[in-house]
Amino acid sequence: MDSQAIATSPEHTPSVEHAHPPYLRHHFETVEQQREASSFGMWLFLLTEIMFFGGMFAAYLIYRNWYYPAFVAGSHQLSIVLGTINTAVLIGSSFTMAMAVYSAETRNRKALITYLLLTITLGLVFLGIKSDEYHEKWEKHHVPGLNFSVHDFVNVNPAYPDDKPLPLDMAEKTQVYFSLYFAMTGMHALHMIIGISILIILVIKAYGGSYTDGHVSTIENFGLYWHFVDIVWIFLFPLLYLISRHQ
């Protein structure tokens, strides 16, 4: 009985593969399987993120149809210049992130760290501009619940003299627009903050030599996340900033 136990115990099973890379986790058969599984998992996670933001996009769709004039008036209070700069910053950060993935694949540690740091910087620039916009909203009394006044909407908007002032009941509805504005850009900014925190960890690990030893899937998957956050903004920008801007 005991001799049988030794013969079949897991420690004594003959190893089929010779050289496992150190990053291959024990429950996977091959590196390929591990890589496919992690990238599939990441795509599924992004799917859940789409559903998460999807709830707010659905709300946006409904209310924009109900309160179109309020949405136009609300949108015309946003700074199109800051919004455009932020869009460019974020697309730029997606580029540096893509370059970081490329550097990991070509095993160039120095370039990897440089591009990750650049991505962090651009992310912080985005958040800085965003907080400036939030501050402006606060000063203009456009924050529903905490600090809101219909003043700007029942009077002529100096930036858009052609816009007719809204009747009071429609002006009240701009609160829905700004609720969505803060909820959507706020959730987006939260994703940026989480992303930047992870980037900092990635930089520290990259200093230690990770990701340039052939095990790139962590960087690749984080790249997918970062591009996703970017894409969300690509939708938010026209939906929130560019309503009826054709004058």
Binding site: T8, A59, V176
Partner: protein
């Protein structure tokens, strides 16, 4: 592949020995459990924590039934009653039913059934258990700090404007527990796609896997929508944004749409894994391949898909458009089709099978009968005219308890008994457990059948007081709940007893065909000594009969 049943003798248990090495004794100490990556250990951790939450929720149910013993609200104040039924719903739905089968039995079995060493992401699996604990902690905190009285549905504007209770704490708890569920679903989908053993094709998978796959799709796609709707409620309560607030132009009904977009599919998140258990149990104790394997497999996916397009039937009386109600009514009836496919195929599996009546099978029979009643009354509620009469009455309470408690809990207990020998290496005591199954069934019928009548007569749900003429039926229901409580307490006691004193089970005490029964009980940490190569269909009892006993791999 013959469809006739093959009689396989159960192996003698006297000769069975416990293996020297298993996942239970590979490492020792609290740390080896709390930081484990082993899906089997995480399943046990889940089993302990959800059992605890089940008894918390059960205590609340006991208080509700005790209050309803008399027509006046005399045991507790009416607002306390509101808090008690809210906590009962929140705990039972989000912290017991949603994770019940997937996180315990599913976690334990999915890798083994497909011939893998572990789930694809063991660390995320452990993380989801910690998220579950954090969610449960927040929910219990909300209860201890003074409760929450929104009901489990968090209906706006009640939850956002009119209540002064701990809605935010409870909402955060559910938000966090939701992520636990998302990660479990994600892990299952990736595992089922990428970790199958050679030869384990999609149509050789046990139906347990198919139903978990369908439930995982619902978890991954539905739960985030619940998350965002709770976030918006929390933002509305804390800083006062106005997406659901009518005074700012928001629409409270939108919350209901978002909430039920998750919470209706959540019903299928709860019931589908249970249906997977029933497929395994019925096949094993009829010694026949599940009749219409492909139809049963696809009906799981069909339930998942249809499940996403029926949510508005929770809102027929809330001022939605008549035309959309008409469409949703029709779609609701469509869900009955794949469900009926399952019920009929299970019945056909029983037909001419060599049926034996072990405890898991008794629970499975309970499931079949009760879920059929629960499902049929669901069709009543899905038809608009009936719904207006019956919704928000005890009829609806009885309906979903037939599905959730009569269906899901029976399936859960069936599964726990069925795989107990695999999880622990020891048998539960057969006679007492049969008694428990019977007690549960009788207690259940006695508790919830009178509620159908009460609801039909017009007793509304969620009130602490009721007209005196309803007392007889309410007393019956409370008496039933007492019996039911004993029925649930019994397994708790004898299962714990069996950990030490139960008969040693051996690798395959039921002579079932799944891969999990071809390895030792309890399994090794790495499940298989070498990756199995699958060359036969699921539920192939002839293959099992030709397989000699020594091929079952045991260490020690």
């Amino acid at each position: 592949m013959s469809t006739a049943s093959t009689i396989v003798k159960l192996p003698p248990q006297e000769g069975a020995t416990l293996p020297k090495k298993s996942y239970l004794n590979s490492e020792y100490g609290l740390k080896s459990w709390l930081l484990t990556g082993d899906h089997k250990r995480i399943a046990i951790l889940y089993l302990i924590s959800i059992t605890f939450m089940f008894f918390v929720g059960g205590a609340m149910a006991g208080l509700i039934r005790l209050e309803l013993l008399t027509p006046q609200s005399d045991l507790m104040a009416t607002d306390t009653y509101n808090k008690v039924f809210s906590m009962h719903g929140i705990v039972m739905v989000f912290l017991f039913l949603v994770p019940s089968v997937p996180a315990t039995i599913g976690n334990f079995l999915i890798p083994i059934m497909i011939g893998a060493k572990d789930l694809a992401f063991p660390k995320i699996n452990l993380l989801s258990w910690y998220l579950y604990l954090a969610g449960a902690a927040f929910t219990i905190a909300a209860m201890v700090l003074g409760g929450v009285d929104t009901g489990w549905t968090f209906t706006t504007p009640l939850s956002t404007h009119y209540l002064n209770t701990h809605v935010v704490t409870a909402g955060l708890g559910i938000f966090i527990a939701g992520f636990s569920s998302i990660f479990t679903g994600l892990n299952f989908i990736v595992t089922i796609h990428r970790m199958r053993a050679p030869g384990m094709t999609w149509f050789r998978l046990p139906l347990f896997i198919w139903s978990h796959y369908a439930a995982s799709i619902l978890m991954v796609l539905g739960t985030p929508v619940l998350a965002i709707s709770l976030v918006l409620v929390i933002l509305e309560r804390t800083i006062g944004i106005g997406i659901f607030d009518p005074t700012k132009g928001g629409d409270p009904l939108l919350f209901q749409h978002l909430f039920w977009f998750y919470s209706h599919p959540a019903v299928y998140i709860m019931i589908l894994p249970g249906m997977g258990v029933i497929s395994e149990v019925i096949s094993t104790f009829s010694r026949k391949r599940v009749f219409g394997y492909t139809a049963v497999a696809f009906s799981s996916v069909a339930i998942a898909v249809f499940g996403f397009f029926v949510w508005e039937h929770h809102m027929f009386i809330m001022g939605v458009s008549n035309y959309s109600a008409l469409v949703f009514s029709l779609l609701t009836m469509l869900v009955a089709v794949p469900t009926a496919i399952k019920i009929f195929n299970w019945s056909a599996t029983l037909y001419k099978g060599s049926i034996t009546f072990e405890t898991p099978m008794l629970y499975a029979f309970g499931f079949l009968g009760l879920v059929t009643i629960g499902g049929m009354t669901g069709v009543f509620l899905g038809s608009m005219g009936m719904d207006i009469h019956l919704t928000e009455t005890y009829f609806i309470v009885a309906h979903f308890h037939f599905v959730m408690v009569g269906g899901m809990l029976m399936a859960y207990l069936s599964g726990i008994h069925f795989w107990w020998p695999k999880m622990t290496g020891r048998m539960y005591p057969e006679q007492v457990s049969k008694l428990a199954a019977l007690t549960t069934f009788i207690g259940f019928i006695l508790t919830f059948f009178p509620q159908f009548i009460l609801g039909y007569l017009g007793m509304p749900r969620r009130y602490a007081a009721y007209p005196p003429e309803f007392q007889v039926l309410n007393v019956l229901s409370t008496a039933g709940a007492t019996v039911l409580g004993i029925g649930y307490l019994l397994p708790m006691l004898y299962m714990t007893w069996s950990l030490k004193y139960g008969k040693i089970a051996g690798a395959n005490p039921w002579q079932a065909t799944g891969l999990e029964w071809q390895i030792q009980s309890p399994p090794l940490t790495e499940n298989f000594l070498e990756t199995p190569i699958v060359d036969h269909e699921a539920y192939d009892y002839e293959w099992l009969a030709n397989k000699t006993q020594h091929e079952v791999q045991t260490v020690g």
